[in-house]
């Protein structure tokens, strides 16, 4: 027992002296639990986080009293984060670039249509929807219908608006020569009753139905809807974006992200292996600059990443997967920039650890958490609030954005420039840091 205890104490001491290993044994699991607890708390509404909010923009082209009321009702329904935009074209662009889940365009004439919704066709609203946010589309449609009922309930509290509508219907009945006399008389009686109910009655006795009992879900209306929501996908740079060709358009960048995890892990550990196996010592005494070791490793990592990404792209372009392409040169540049960024990630991660064990655990663990934060596992739609900002720090996020942008999202070179620059920055910083660390590695083992 004494020997067992002595061994245990010795191993604990060794662990604590290897700071990287200690970090990934003690601190990292704690961070992992906290970070993902926060993500899922927000995603699934635990602990007061509520349901994840859908990021939308509302463009009111009607600018009428009812259209403004509709927009306000939509916001009051909850569940939406409304972002200000200039107009329909910006909505289009923001949705296409994945910055908004949807853009709601209230067309001219919406207010007038809303007044006559009960007696004629409901007014239409156009929604430009990100095809990758299909799960949120249904929620948004429900919220929009609910807001429509709220506005409609408000209309019935206004005798002037209802009176106008009844007058319009009465005029239509009068001008309809084909209507039989009996029907005309019955309609007249009905409209008189409606006039009494909504005109004087509404003012004296309150609305026929209010927001409290009917607004929000449309139950009992037998298919009636106060607004007609038509959803479409944003326009692509080179033509119609349409919906997702297949779910593989979403999973292809995620697959690429996991391939990058494997690539970076493999080369990162092999760089550490050079040191632990002693081959670094042999290379260091060769008549070459010591840096060539890390340059060679970086080049190999870059080539491997490019090949892996290109092969994946080729596979996912097959008809069975149906991932659409953008301009070939944009895809090539995106793949190149992603590979460059992850060479930097590899160099930075592999040179931080001071022991083989620390590197083994550390490289894998950091990549795993960066990949998950970057949307390689949990879709980015689950990241809301400040967590959405946290994802900006993950190179995987930018890789996924660049791959989506250069393929099925059909981004222009100008739109891709942002992700490319971020990826380039990550790569350059990682390489500078990695080289700085590598030059301080003790070779003598």
């Amino acid at each position: 027992m004494r020997v067992v205890w002595a061994i245990a104490v010795k191993d604990l001491r060794l662990l604590m002296r290897d700071r990287v290993a200690a970090f990934f044994t003690l601190v990292f699991p704690l961070l992992f639990g906290v970070v993902f607890g926060l993500i899922f708390q927000q995603a699934f509404g635990g602990g007061g986080g509520g349901t994840p909010e859908i990021r939308v923009a509302i463009v009111d082209l009607d600018d009428s009293e009812l259209s403004r009321e509709y927009a306000e009702a939509l916001v009051e329904m909850g569940g939406l984060t409304v972002v200000g935009v200039e107009g329909p074209s910006e909505v289009e662009e923001q949705v296409r670039r994945g910055r908004l889940a949807a853009g709601i365009i209230i067309p001219p004439g919406f207010g007038a249509g809303m007044q006559g919704a009960l007696f004629g066709e409901a007014p239409g609203i156009e929604v430009v929807m990100d095809p990758s946010r299909a799960a949120e589309a249904g929620v948004l449609r429900g919220l929009m219908t609910g807001a429509g009922f709220r506005v409609m309930a408000g209309v019935f509290q206004r005798p002037d608006m209802v009176g106008d509508q009844i007058g319009r219907v009465r005029e239509a009945v009068r001008q309809d020569a084909s209507m039989r006399a009996m029907d005309r008389m019955l309609m007249g009686t009905l409209l008189d009753s409606a006039d009494r109910l909504f005109g004087r009655g509404a003012a004296e006795n309150g609305p026929a139905f209010g927001a409290g009992d009917r607004g929000g879900d449309g139950a009992g209306m037998d298919g009636f809807t106060p607004v007609r929501v038509s959803m479409r996908m944003p326009e692509r740079g080179g033509g119609g974006m349409g919906g997702l060709n297949s779910a593989f358009e979403l999973t292809y960048p995620q697959a690429a992200a996991w391939a990058l995890v494997g690539c970076v892990t493999g080369f990162g550990l092999s760089l550490v292996g050079e040191r632990t196996s002693g081959t670094l010592k042999r290379l260091a005494v060769a008549p070459v600059r010591r840096d060539v070791v890390v340059y060679g490793k970086a080049l190999a990592c870059f080539i491997a990443a490019v090949v892996v990404l290109a092969v994946l792209r080729g596979l996912f372009a097959l008809p069975v997967f149906g991932v659409r392409g953008g301009a070939p040169w944009l895809e090539v540049v995106s793949i190149g920039m992603i590979a460059f960024a992850f060479v930097g990630v590899m160099m930075a991660l592999s040179t931080v650890a001071t022991s083989a064990g620390g590197a083994e655990g550390g490289v894998r663990a950091v990549l795993l958490i960066l990949a998950l934060l970057g949307g390689a596992g949990v879709p980015l739609m689950f990241f809301t609030g400040w967590l959405r900002w946290v994802t900006m720090g993950s190179p995987f996020r930018w890789a996924i954005v660049a791959l989506e942008g250069s393929t099925w999202r059909g981004w222009t070179p100008g739109e891709l420039l942002g992700p490319w620059m971020v990826l380039g920055g990550i790569g350059a910083l990682g390489m500078v840091f990695g080289l700085w660390r590598f030059r301080r590695w003790p070779v003598q083992g």
Binding site: S277, G278, T279, K281, R282, L283, A284, V285, A286, P287, V288, P442, V443, Q444, G445
Partner: protein, 287 residues
């Protein structure tokens, strides 16, 4: 060939090498003999420029006595081969691939690499396993390949850091043979070991090192003559051992009545490097 001048290396409060100076002659096999932690590996690392000394310098000397340069310079490193203590090899490469790779790193022309690799594989007795991955090699085979990898660029000076540590007798014998061949070929060899047998078997001259200092440098015979003391004749009798330290052990032996039933046995212990170390440090090399 190699001049180590007043080398000092400290790690925190520990002084690993303490003012060490040595002059290596061209073509000799020079032994660095000392216990673990004596500073042998640190000295080698400084000699090849892997680590910088806190004081002193390591300079490579040409045959005409002129200085070629310090080990931090590429032109000097091109003339030096290092066989580290561990197996500095790529396990997932074959033996030939390893050698060709290291030949490439040393700037050997492509046309010569494979031939040189094959030559070395023949030399270390691994030609039949040349295309097998190193990961499947035994410890002895790895050590031989490790040695071959340090010779791939035909260095003038080879530093072997305990090349036989933990190897089987067959591989040890093969390594001894390679060192002998290097000596014959005119290559200067620095051989660190804590085995007296190896030092006596292989080295033209030996430096005894302890606590980072050179205690003595000479040929093995010279060290024994100067520091080994006398031979010890031990006569085992029924009532105990009688030890006699003498310059003339045979003369002492002649005075013993070997026919007497009282004499159970006789042994002559000649002085060796262990005696030298004991004499110089007051403790055994194996302590």
């Amino acid at each position: 060939m190699l001049s180590l001048r007043g080398i000092v290396k400290r790690y925190g409060k520990v002084t690993a090498v303490d003012g060490l100076s040595l002059e290596l002659r061209r073509g000799e096999v020079f032994g660095l003999l000392g216990p673990n932690g004596a500073g042998k590996t640190t000295t080698l690392s400084i000699a090849v420029g892997l680590i910088g000394p806190d004081a002193g310098e390591a300079v490579l000397i040409a045959a005409d006595g002129s200085e070629i340069g310090r080990a931090t310079e590429a032109k000097v490193r091109a003339r030096i081969g290092v066989c580290p203590q561990g197996d500095a090899l790529y396990e997932n490469l074959t033996a030939r691939e390893n050698l060709v790779f290291f030949a490439t790193v040393h700037g050997m022309p492509k046309a010569e690499r494979r031939a040189r690799a094959d030559e070395l594989l023949e030399m270390v007795g691994l030609h039949e396993r040349a295309d097998h991955k190193v990961g499947g090699y035994s410890g002895g085979m790895r050590r031989r390949l490790n040695l071959a990898a340090s010779l791939v660029h035909r260095p003038e000076l080879v530093l072997l850091d305990e090349p036989t540590a933990g190897v089987d007798p067959h591989s040890r014998s093969a390594i001894y043979q390679i060192v002998d061949e290097l000596r014959v070929g005119g290559t200067t060899v620095v051989y660190t070991t804590h085995s007296m047998d190896e030092a006596q078997r292989l080295c033209d001259r030996v430096a005894i090192i302890d606590h980072g200092r050179v205690l003595a440098v000479d040929t093995v015979d010279g060290l024994i003559d100067r520091h080994g003391g006398h031979a010890v004749v031990t006569v085992t009798r029924s009532d105990g051992d009688v030890r006699t330290e003498t310059e003339q052990p045979l003369a002492v032996l002649a005075g013993v009545d070997l026919q007497s039933p009282d004499v159970l046995g006789v042994r002559i212990d000649r002085p060796d490097l262990e005696s030298v170390f004991l004499s110089l440090t007051g403790r055994s090399l194996r302590d």
